[in-house]
Symmetry: C2
Subunit: 217 residues, 2 copies
């Protein structure tokens, strides 16, 4: 298996004598394997982890759905609560709704205020969505749950971050939680085990290409 933080970072080599190159390569890989094996030996604890994907780049939600699929592949029951709903059903929703036993899928209300422009209504919808999330966090049958775009609800102040973290910390010991969305609050980053900032390098949208089914939705 590939363990992200200790994967070797092999250098590419320029043209060189092939025999010497192969020997050096083998020596380097032997040393790298020793370093990796040592790190693996030191990380042996199992527990449910909190994973947060944030930042402005593409990949936050899709990474969350990738983990849902991984968990389903291991026979785990999964849950999804989406805290933003668009006008068009997404590919992930259409696909995962085919497996109601393995993935319980909820989508919150009718989207946020950049469409509806009504703050009170948005708060009520976010809180109803969190009630679904909290029910999953109290049920050890769920091996992995995804709260997609929860960070947006926290950032907008629709949900109280301390109450959310208290619910997260009270979850079953082996349950994994994945939380996505821009602008993750610092308290949530502190509470999480694994946090990635998805940093945009470039985006097709800037070249006038609109969101593509299968890629962005």
């Amino acid at each position: 298996m590939t363990q992200e933080p200790m994967s070797p970072e092999p250098d590419s080599t320029g043209p060189a004598d092939e025999d010497g190159r192969n020997t050096r390569h083998r020596d380097r890989m032997v040393r790298k394997k020793a370093v990796i094996d040592d790190k693996i030996a030191k990380a042996q604890r199992d527990c449910g982890v909190i994973v947060v994907t944030t930042g402005n780049g593409k990949g936050k939600s899709s990474s969350g759905f990738g983990m849902v699929v991984r968990a389903m592949g291991h026979g785990m029951k999964t849950g999804v609560v989406q805290f933003i709903k668009g006008a068009i059903p997404t590919g992930e929703e259409k696909f995962l709704r085919r497996f109601p036993e393995a993935c319980e899928f909820h989508v919150m209300g009718e989207g946020y205020t950049w469409d509806t422009q009504d703050r009170e209504r948005d708060i009520a919808k976010a809180q109803a969505a969190w009630a679904q999330a909290r029910r999953m966090l109290r049920d050890p049958a769920f091996g992995l749950v995804l709260f997609d775009e929860l960070n947006i609800a926290l950032k907008l102040g629709y949900l109280d971050v301390d109450a959310v973290i208290a619910d997260l910390n009270a979850r079953p010991e082996m349950q994994h939680v994945v939380i996505t969305g821009r602008g993750a609050p610092q308290a949530l980053i502190d509470a999480a085990h694994t946090v990635t900032d998805m940093t945009p390098v470039k985006h097709a949208f800037s070249e006038g290409i609109r969101a593509q089914p299968g890629v962005e939705m």
Copy 2:
């Protein structure tokens, strides 16, 4: 639908008079919606995109598998070539192999040289994997293809980046390609439409927690 680069970045607001707050919120959201609508109006082109996820943080491969699932949800045929194989079958492999009509799944040889320490053999395996990838790139039946950890093979010099890019650019017009792995070469970043650097903020591994099924594999 959520279009990543132009999603609004709403500010959280402090305690304030509720009526005034709601009015200001509504005004701000009206303005944001206008900005977003304008940007959407300017991005109307459809084409197959090349997405690259790189960097040292968690989320590169899982994001790729999330896009595979999205595409399957839209009824697209997908293909996966994994350029690194671990000792243990991953959750994504176990899950996606259930749908051979919708997802053609290939895993390269027996892993790279930090396990096998044999460069010549690795090159042969990477090239055989690329032959599978190239076949998909020539077949318009595939709507989205994922070349997982291809960046590693490029970085190690097992495949020629210019030849790979030539094959990518010759693909069917509407086919999407997702390429993952640390150390994406600059030429590939230049050739791609959307590139995200997955920047690690923290990782469970550093706390002595090993890779968890459903999350890392």
